[in-house]
Amino acid sequence: MNFDLFYISPELILALGGILVLIAGVTARRWTTPERLGIFSPEVVSLVVLLAALVPSILLLAEKDVVRGVSQFFYGGEKYGLFAVDGLALFFKIIAIVSTAIVVFLSMDFFREIKFHRGEFYALLVFATLAITSLAASTDLIMIYLSLEFLSITSYILAGYLKQDPKSNEAAVKYFLYGAISAAVMVYGMSILYGLTGTTNIAAIAQTFRAGYVPQELLFLATIFVLVGFGFKIAMVPFHQWSPDTYEGAPTPITAFLSVGSKAAGFAVLVRVLSTGITPDVLNWTPLIIMFSAITMTVGNLIAIPQVNIKRMLAYSSIAQAGYLLLGVASMAYSPLAVPAVLLYIFVYLFMNLGAFAVVTILSARLRSDNISDYAGLIKRAPAAAVCMVIFMLSLAGIPPTAGFVGKLYLFAAAIQSGHTALFWLAVVAIANTVVSAYYYLNVVRTMFFIEAEDTSPISASRPAKLAIWLTTAMTLVVLLYPEPFMKMAHVSASILMGM
């Protein structure tokens, strides 16, 4: 066994770095303020830590073994370990770290006026990143459960961070109650899996099922129960009810975090379990996922239409986006393009969705409102932000010339390549949904461009928020203009699961 600390260096850096951010929060309180950041302020330290964790993740992904699809397992032996260092895990490490870094930039803008417990806030963000990276790497039910709870608990606190704001409290409580119940149901499902196979390792579970008798009904039940837990994280209908309230009440950067990092973590574990644990030859789960996908995208899009609060609108939009991603998950058994398509879409989604939230963050602090109607005349008040918002909205709707189009093209391609009739019709449902979604995404554009503002005073953003917006805008365009390296990354990262 290859025991090398380098393989878990991203996690080590995040764990130690989180503690360092905590210390920075204590020591820096007196001599560094959100306006004048010192070198050892929690903001700067957390960014340095994230960057330090990003570098080994990229280096590992570029390594030969990973490219060949060989998984480095830690703790527990070559084949049946707890923790994998493979393409999939590394890909989601990169997703988690990049998205958290952008969220840190947004938080720096958001917390200019709120000055309590900065250190703890950024430390929790770094720990939540650690939770995502370990969830994506988990290959054992116990490890999955622990990482999922780790992520949930940090998220509960972050969602309720504005403790004087009743809405933030509501966000945290709702999130916690739904999270606790779905985790309990998931653990029950896991215990059934353990009872059936006598092991908690997902690869070993698949092995046992292949070798012997599979009680289909019980396995189906266990799968549904496990999906409750994953579905909660990705906001899959009908386990999505927490998300609109939590998204609305949580501090905006945390909403951004929940809609990207946390959702990506859910997809990481979903893809891993469905492709290496409960494999399609053990249980034909394709119809089940097709059903969830169709319901999720349709419900998300239809309820997004009447929303007046942009955070709620984006909550339903991100439910719908989970539905599109589930289209890729559903195609996994039939199309080799499916996993790369899911990964590429998550990558694209990271930038377009965080970009949209970046604009929302600066506006909610300046307009003191999250209502779409208050975005009227934004083209005159903040032209750059308005134009970037158009790009994000078009991208979320999957309209060229934006990255969202490439992502959707890949997902549809996977569904059509499968040659599976039901998946083809799911793609038809998805394109119908695309048209519906264009309506409410363009409603934001309409408000910003077509309606005159009463107040025409210019709005300016802080430097970190500007940086976040420019970065996400650039990526949203670059992935269309030059998608090659990103597609390659998605294919390399997915290669480990291709032998399914």
């Binding site: 309209i399 093209l409 059509i416 793609a427 695309t434 264009a438 309506y439 461009f449 077509f450």
Partner: protein, 504 residues
């Protein structure tokens, strides 16, 4: 130069659009001159393209093919043939004259001119793209600026019209996207190249799938054309759009649909095209008659011109349907019908573009489009009256002008193939004459409404923007051969492709 000419034609306007973004918004005339300056290279180059193009050689010319996304075999693949060159020229011309006409725009000129140039890039891109991926990107890129042009600078119901236009077109586009992916997986090696797909004839052994792909493409193109019953976005969008926006909508964006039939649908899915040709012919007939009758019922002058587009694009579709008919032989008739269709696209772009300008001119002077409130303007503003009459006559198919030539070709080609439908379609020409003459009567003749006693005649800017359209309408009417020469070879290829695989 040969290699880069299409790239230059397509992207110089986009460069201009970006340049305008850096001009301070107070510098009104700098913005306008920059826009005009950046629209001229495409116009000049498209003329050169026309001259340099060798019509005797079959296939694509001025081809540029650079790998773009290797994993998906997507190429930056551009090229033109006899079908695209006239449309590229038309696009460049109408954009330039629209920019000249738009000199009076006072509201948010920076965004307006920037969007207009982006729009030009999108439209030109569709006509030069030979890769499905590129084609689709341009197809959608042409949608977004028009959405803004209608929504910001449009009439009272502009928001409704803008989103209706966008969603209607998007329905077609996403259906086309699925069909494009289907084509990709049914070619081997998988390719997004349009010429390669045409060569391989995907789905040629699988008629049900081919039909599905056919209807998906059909939906995208028929909505754009628009054919009855997919036309309901058109009156809203055309009426609410600012004048120059209506000109581009009617002049170019509708042609994207017709172009799609010629470039993709007929040559790539010939069996399905033959099989469903009769249905397209019937829909075309309905468009002709219905569009004409509804135009006759209009009191709003702009709406009348808008519905006349449904009527005129019906002739285009009749020509296309006749060319794809499932009859053996009759190659001459088919080629003639198709020639008529493309001529009609070109002529309609000139004539209806000019008519929308004329409606805009009178609206700016009177803030009225209600035909019943006009009257007697022919004596008050004779130059305007002359121009309006000229264009209306061109539109109703007066021999010697562009409209007549194209309609003649369409019916000459279609009558031997779809005798009954084409014969009924001729009624459309009568309706066409009726509503246009009636419009002329209500605007120009009769007693002058004293409200308009102070109306002034056309000014220099308006003459400059109309003059090229008037001149070309005459030229195409008298010597259509210069267009037919360039079209002939490419259209014969399309007819051969569809006949060989389908009816023949």
């Amino acid at each position: 130069m040969e290699l880069w000419i299409l790239t230059l034609i397509t992207f110089v306007p986009a460069a201009g659009a970006i340049a305008i973004l850096f001009i301070p918004k107070e510098k009104d005339s700098a913005i306008k001159w920059t826009a005009l300056l950046f629209s001229l290279p495409s116009l000049v180059l498209s003329v050169l393209l026309w001259i340099w193009y060798d019509p005797s050689k079959p296939g694509m010319q001025f081809v540029q093919k650079v790998p773009w996304i290797k994993g998906l075999d997507v190429h930056y693949f551009m090229g033109v043939d006899g079908i695209s060159i006239p449309l590229i020229f038309l696009t460049a011309l109408l954009t330039t004259v629209s920019l000249i006409y738009s000199w009076i725009i006072k509201e948010r000129p920076k965004e307006y001119f920037s969007l207009f140039l982006f729009l030009e890039t999108g439209m030109l891109g569709v006509f030069v793209a030979l890769d499905f991926f590129l084609f689709y990107v341009f197809w959608e890129v042409s949608l977004v600026p028009m959405y803004f042009l209608i929504g910001v600078w449009g009439g009272p119901r502009r928001e409704y019209a803008a989103i209706k236009f966008f969603l209607y077109t998007l329905v077609g586009s996403v259906a086309m996207l699925l069909a494009i992916i289907g084509v990709y997986f049914y070619t081997s090696p998988h390719t997004f190249s349009i010429p390669a797909a045409i060569e391989q004839l995907p789905f040629s052994k699988n008629l049900p799938l081919q039909s599905l792909a056919f209807w998906a493409f059909f939906l995208a193109f028929a909505i754009k054309v628009p054919m009855w019953p997919f036309h309901t976005w058109l009156p809203d969008a055309h009426v609410e759009a600012p004048t120059a926006g209506s000109v581009i909508l009617a002049g170019i964006l509708l042609k994207l649909g017709g172009y799609g039939f010629l470039r993709i649908l007929l040559p790539m899915l010939p069996e399905a095209a033959c099989k469903y040709s009769i249905y397209i012919a019937i829909l075309a007939l309905i468009s002709i008659i219905y569009g004409g009758l509804v135009a006759m019922a209009q009191k709003d002058m702009k709406k009348l011109i808008a519905y006349s587009s449904v009527n005129h694009m019906g002739y285009v579709m009749l020509g296309i349907a006749a060319a794809s008919a499932a009859t053996a032989g009759q190659l001459t008739d088919k080629t003639m019908a198709l020639t008529g269709a493309v001529l009609q696209m070109f002529a309609h772009g000139l004539i209806t573009g000019a008519l929308f300008f004329l409606v805009g001119m009178i609206y700016e002077r009177t803030h009225n489009r209600d035909l019943d409130l006009f009257g007697g303007l022919g004596a008050r503003i004779p130059v305007y009256g002359g121009l309006l009459s000229f264009m209306a006559f061109a539109s109703l198919g007066l021999p010697g002008l562009a409209g007549f030539v194209s309609e003649f070709f369409v019916f000459r080609g279609a009558i031997p193939i779809y005798t009954v439908i084409a014969a009924l379609g001729v009624i459309g020409i009568i309706i066409n004459a009726a509503y246009l003459l009636w419009m002329l009567q209500r605007v120009l003749l009769g007693p002058l409404n004293p409200q308009w006693a102070q109306v002034t005649d056309v000014d220099a800017r308006e003459v400059v923007s109309l003059a090229p359209l008037v001149a070309l309408t005459i030229v195409v009417g008298i010597i259509p051969s210069f267009l037919i020469v360039i079209l002939n070879n490419s259209l014969t290829q399309v007819v051969l492709a569809v006949t060989r695989a389908g009816g023949g």
